[in-house]
Amino acid sequence: MAKPTVVVVGADKGGVGKTTVARTLLDYFTAHHVPTRAFDTESPKGTLRRFHPDISEIVDATSVSDQMRIFDTLSITDASVTVIDVRAGLLSPTLRSLRDIGFLDAVKKGQLTLVIFHILGSSIASLNEIEETSSFAADARYFLVKNFINNTSFFEWDQATHASYFRKFKDAVEISIPKLNEMAFEQVELASVPFLTFVANKGLKGEAANYSFVLRGYVRHWLGNVWAEYDRVKLNEIVSSGGLATSGPRVQVVSRS
């Protein structure tokens, strides 16, 4: 059996589309028949839970009792993947507490797989955060995600600065989330269903819905492109055959322009 995988999705600041990425991941694992559960740390609101209510719980990642709810259950849950949507700004603190509870040691010993999706903002501060978070991520699969979904013009500042930061983290792999048609995005928001359900023209309880064919087409096309990125970094292999993930060769930084 595959060893349990924890996927941490986080960002240093809000509004960079972190939950959107978490949603595409849940859809990806659903499509690959990987049993998945999710924790939404945006208590008490819980955006992720709004879209995936049956597999998501709202937790406070800084409270010890909630940490127990997440990590003490890893070996007994049916889910082989646990996705944690970490509230904006709490990525480093969360990774720090993961180290403190011995979780990172377990990752080092190969008992668990840790995958970090670090959603980048478009500022230098964001790059400084990479430095901080990556120090916890020595044994994790560390992905830097450029999210173009909210039309951020990314890293238009100095290419040399950009390159110098990225050179430091040879183990980090870049992922680009392409832009989704605004109206399509908005309609999925309104529908409050997973992207995959929207594409299938269904409601949250599986009932037939009546979404625009054009918008569904846009979402399907976009989701396909996002998943192609996940396939490119072999995400499915990482979570299904955890053993290879930490010992196998690391993928070089690939930048898609």
């Binding site: 399509a184 064919f213 054009v214 918008l215 096309h221």
Partner: protein, 246 residues
């Protein structure tokens, strides 16, 4: 077997080569084929077809997502009608890009709608390349339209139809006289054909020739559809025999 609902897309990447005239002729030709008929005019700057047929043809601007929804969501629901699009050269690229991205042709086919591109050809190299590229990227039926008034040159091998049997639709050359008559704002081909005062004229003849081309074209579509459904038939029969043998 249920007949698929036709969706004709009259298109060309170049301006002023008779697209709207072809759309006009086809629209009137199709108006008595028994199915409800709906037209869409995608020429945001000059929706000439919509102005001529205000009750039958909707002007649509696909520059914005909202307009794309207006068009494609209605097209995909139009399983009981004959639909016709007059696609201007401006939105040409975007139209087919959106169509590809949202997977329109596959879904239309699944619902029993048959998208057919009537590509008004011209001899320029860019148009020939555009036709080839479009045909590669889109699973729709392609039928070239040769408008004799545009050029005397037409190299059939430059514009191969999706199936050889679909051939070409030829719009015969317009004399200045005929053009003068049919360009009148309220001119209707069908009304003109119905009224016989003064006997058959050059205009009658021209319209008659065009309609004959359209009838041939519809027949060829039908034949190739029948042909493919007949040649497709033995396969399931063989399969069921195998099952029985086991």
């Amino acid at each position: 077997m249920a007949q698929p609902a036709p969706l004709y897309i009259v298109a060309s990447p170049r301006p002023r080569i008779g697209k709207t005239l072809v759309a006009r002729l086809l629209l009137e030709f199709l108006s008595d084929n028994g199915r409800p008929l709906v037209g869409y005019d995608i020429n945001p700057r000059e929706p000439a077809l919509a102005e001529r047929f205000p009750k039958l043809v909707w002007p649509v601007d696909i520059g914005e997502t909202r307009g794309q929804m207006e068009l494609f969501d209605r097209l995909i629901a139009g399983t009981a009608s004959t639909q016709l699009i007059d696609l201007g050269y401006g939105p040409f690229d975007q139209f087919f890009a959106v169509m590809r991205e949202i997977g329109f042709v596959q879904e239309a086919r699944r619902r029993g709608i048959e998208p057919t591109v009537l590509f008004v050809a011209d001899p320029s190299g860019a148009t020939v390349r555009c036709y080839a590229e479009l045909q590669r990227g889109l699973a729709a039926i392609f039928v070239p339209v040769y408008n004799e008034s545009v050029s005397l040159l037409f190299a059939k091998e430059d514009f191969p139809p999706s199936r050889a049997a679909h051939s070409v639709i030829c719009i015969p050359r317009l004399s200045p006289l005929v053009r003068g008559v049919i360009d009148r704002p309220n001119f209707s081909f069908n009304a003109y054909m119905a009224k016989q005062s003064g006997g058959p004229t050059e205009v009658h003849q021209w319209i008659g020739n065009v309609y004959a081309e359209f009838r041939d074209f519809e027949l060829r579509l039908l034949m190739s559809r029948l042909g493919s459904s007949l040649s497709g038939a033995p396969a399931p029969a063989r399969k069921s025999k195998d099952r029985r043998a086991r």
